[in-house]
């Protein structure tokens, strides 16, 4: 199950917890949501049982931020694979 987040509001994390339950979970951060992937923030995903966290490299670069080491910066080709191939469910929050 892949969650696509494009907003930095923390409510998304609670929605992710409720919707994700015990399923295997990955997260793709785009736009302002990359702020959730900063050092000091990204640990919340581990607490929610998220296995992998990806972030749009362009969104991070546009905001001049450095992502936490646990977050993989990806381009659009990889994002397309994540969304179209790698997960049987994709949920945009």
């Amino acid at each position: 199950m892949l969650f696509l987040l494009n907003k930095s509001r923390k409510d998304c994390l609670e929605e992710l917890r409720i919707l994700g339950g015990d399923e295997d979970k990955a997260v793709l951060l785009v736009g302002d949501a990359v702020y959730l992937g900063l050092p000091g923030q990204a640990g919340a995903f581990e607490n929610l049982g998220v296995d992998e966290v990806f972030a749009d490299a362009d969104s991070a670069a546009a905001r001049g931020v450095a992502l936490d080491d646990s977050v993989a910066a990806v381009g659009f080709e990889r994002m397309a694979r994540l969304i179209m191939d790698d997960h049987d469910q994709v949920i945009s929050l």
């Binding site: 696509l4 907003k7 994002m79 179209m84």
Partner: protein, 132 residues
């Protein structure tokens, strides 16, 4: 086997980077050989129309114009449509914004939720809703 991504885009072009992101993702998905539908709903319908030429001197500075040009997406939408992406807008959300009746970009179709969007959904493998 080709799959189909449908994106309901609820943001316009300049209030955030949702629209720019959607078009870049659409380009990447098309490049894989998959199909893309984009339904322009809510403020997303503001992306549907032909730009109106402005005669005269705009007071926009060169620096601001350069920044804003990255969010002028008419050309990108027409390129994607020419490459096979399907775009439909919601005439009801256009009506409430006073834009119903304006000329559409090449490749953007008049539409509605009950018909256009539903037809998109019937052939969709992955649905994303991008907005605020």
């Amino acid at each position: 086997m080709s799959r189909t991504l449908t994106i309901a885009l609820l943001s316009g072009s300049t209030e955030n980077d949702d629209a720019a992101f959607v078009l870049k993702l659409a380009r990447a998905v098309l490049a894989r050989g998959d199909a893309v539908n984009v339904f322009l709903y809510g403020n997303g319908c503001n992306l549907a129309n032909k730009p109106v030429p402005f005669d005269g001197r705009s007071p926009i500075s060169d620096a601001l114009r350069q920044h804003m040009d990255g969010y002028v997406l008419a050309g990108a939408i027409e390129e994607l449509a020419a490459a096979g992406a399907k775009f439909a807008t919601c005439h009801t959300t256009e009506y409430s914004r006073g834009t119903e009746g304006l000329a559409y970009l090449d490749g953007v179709a008049w539409g509605d939720v009950g018909n256009s969007y539903t037809r998109f959904l019937m052939s969709t493998d992955v649905l994303l809703t991008i907005g605020r």
